[in-house]
């Protein structure tokens, strides 16, 4: 398999601020790759390093085997869908989409045809004569996508592409992006702070914090087996068991993660592990009840199916879970 993007110990420091600090990653051709993290974690800077808007202060970047340092953005066949879409306000939609072909010197008729095809691909046929100001947020997003894809980039970068859309539109666009990526076969790299979006769309996820990659892997692995406490907190809502509970459960690691939906309020069966405590709080979340159990001062959240009865506040309960659901973590 060809490597689309390679980061070898890449850093980008702004004075004393280490926006990106020693990142290694390898993105395969045709992959849908997500960079997930809170704001300021370095994920957007990594994207800008791929696009060429930033230059690394250390390390080495390759795109399809070619050195990327010192190559200006306009010489890279990498295109970006910007967070604010960045549609040119003074150009029509068609001219926006055809812009990349125009500056490359493609003939007028040819680029008009290509732009119209691209607009049809994002389900906006016939919108070419309008202006960006006349479109809704979702439509602008599609135009931005068409404007990037019409150049047939080797890598498409998406910076929080769905961030400005409302929930329903977001879910619809997630599906469309995914199927578009599969049918085009282009490598997609997208940045998001929404863990649900990353989990549902990406082939692989890199979780960023403080300019470093905390964990890189398939969505199921990142979700089920967070390697660090940060990942456990940020991806989903894992319980982080403190050292004294780990010791009681026979682990040597300082921390361990345990997902709420892996826990049952029941006596252990078949060699499952168990802890006992009292019910500290509960709330109704639709499909499940969230029950917080106080185990010797540590609060453990349990997702209990809504069909089951909720124990009263303050009542003593036993919680149990399979041993393989408990994942030891490296650091705090």
């Amino acid at each position: 398999m060809t490597t689309a993007v390679l980061f070898d110990n890449v850093s980008r420091h702004f004075g004393a601020v280490r926006a990106v600090d020693g990142v290694n990653l390898e993105i395969a051709e045709g992959e849908f790759f997500a960079m997930l993290g809170p704001s300021g974690s370095g994920k957007t800077t990594c994207l800008r390093l791929m696009a060429g808007f930033e230059q690394p202060t250390g390390g080495h970047i390759e795109i399809f085997g070619e050195t990327a340092e010192g190559v200006p953005p306009y010489r890279r066949s990498v295109n970006t869908v910007f967070q604010d879409y960045a549609l040119f306000p003074h150009l029509s939609i068609l001219d926006n989409v055809a812009y990349g072909l125009m500056v490359k010197g493609v003939g007028r008729e040819e680029r008009r045809k290509a732009a119209e095809d691209a607009l049809a691909m994002v389900k906006l046929p016939g919108y070419g004569t309008r202006r960006p100001g006349q479109l809704s947020g979702g439509q602008r997003q599609r135009v931005a996508l068409a404007r990037a894809l019409v150049n047939k980039p080797k890598v498409l970068l998406l910076d929080e592409p769905l961030g400005a859309l409302d929930l329903k539109l977001r879910e619809q666009m997630q599906e469309e992006l995914k199927s578009l990526q599969k049918s085009l076969g282009i490598t997609f790299v997208f940045v998001t702070h929404d863990q649900g979006e990353a989990l549902s769309m990406a082939d692989r996820i890199a979780v960023f914090n403080d300019g470093r990659i905390q964990q890189l892997g398939r969505p199921e692995d990142v979700y089920k087996q967070p390697k660090t406490r940060f990942v456990a907190d940020f991806v989903g809502s894992s319980n982080v068991l403190p050292q004294k509970l780990c010791q009681r459960l026979g682990l040597t690691a300082p921390f361990a993660s345990l997902r709420p939906e892996a826990i049952a309020i029941a006596q252990p069966v078949d060699g499952a592990l168990s802890l006992s405590g009292t019910v500290a709080a509960h709330s109704f979340l639709g499909a499940v009840n969230r029950v917080v159990v106080d185990v010797d001062g540590a609060r453990v959240a349990v997702a209990s199916p809504a069909a089951l009865a909720v124990p009263a506040l303050g009542s003593p309960v036993t919680i149990s879970f399979a041993a393989h659901e408990l994942h030891p973590m490296e650091d705090a």
Partner: protein, 271 residues
Amino acid sequence: MRSDRLNRTPMGLKIAAGVGLAFLHLPILLIFLYAFTTEEKSYQFPPPGLTTQWFAVAWNRPDVWAALTLSVKVASIATAVALVLGTLCAAAVSQTRFFGRETISLLVILPIALPGIITGIALRSAFSMADIPFSFWTIVLGHATFCIVVVYNNAVARFRRISGSLIEASMDLGADGFQTFRYIILPNIGTALLAGGMLAFALSFDEVIVTTFTAGQQSTLPIWMLEELIRPRQRPVTNVVAMVVVLVTFLPILGAYYLTRDGDQIAGAGK
């Protein structure tokens, strides 16, 4: 703000605002009346009679035409220079963060922040020290110096509205620096530059204080008017010229307003 419309405007405020505006406009309107007076020797009011003969007299005065031509030439070249320098400065200040931006803004504003007589006398003594004879070009140099700020203010306001990601988007799509300037930056700042240029023209066309120090024997239209104000020769001609000057300067102001009305204001403080 909105709920104010429900309240009634206080009567006193309405009157004070109205009287204030009238105070600003009536003297200018009076100029229009005097352009038609038959009285030649004094500023008598009400005019004893009305006539249009002075327009013909003014039309046939070579000194008026010479002054007008010089003013237009000076204003055109000063505006062109100010457009180039003001735009370069605005682009540098708004596209990049660098040490000393504040200083540059202050430097650009200084020629109009200081009283015109200081700018004028400073340039005059510099010219004489450098043995530069007064000419058309010394007038242009003085005018361009204080016109830069008008272009700069308008351009900076517009540059601020072009989001940085537009330029990045253009580069990302394969346009190099020159193409980005040609296809993205220029169309977006075009109207602001046009507005700034019109205001610079109006400013230069009207300037008198710096000009008295940087002009030699030549008279721009304002210098001609100043001469007439101090030593009146033919008052009715002055009246006609004054009216024409008012009309001529209104056009660029209105034009600049319509070009910049969505969003940024005319940099009025730039006079």
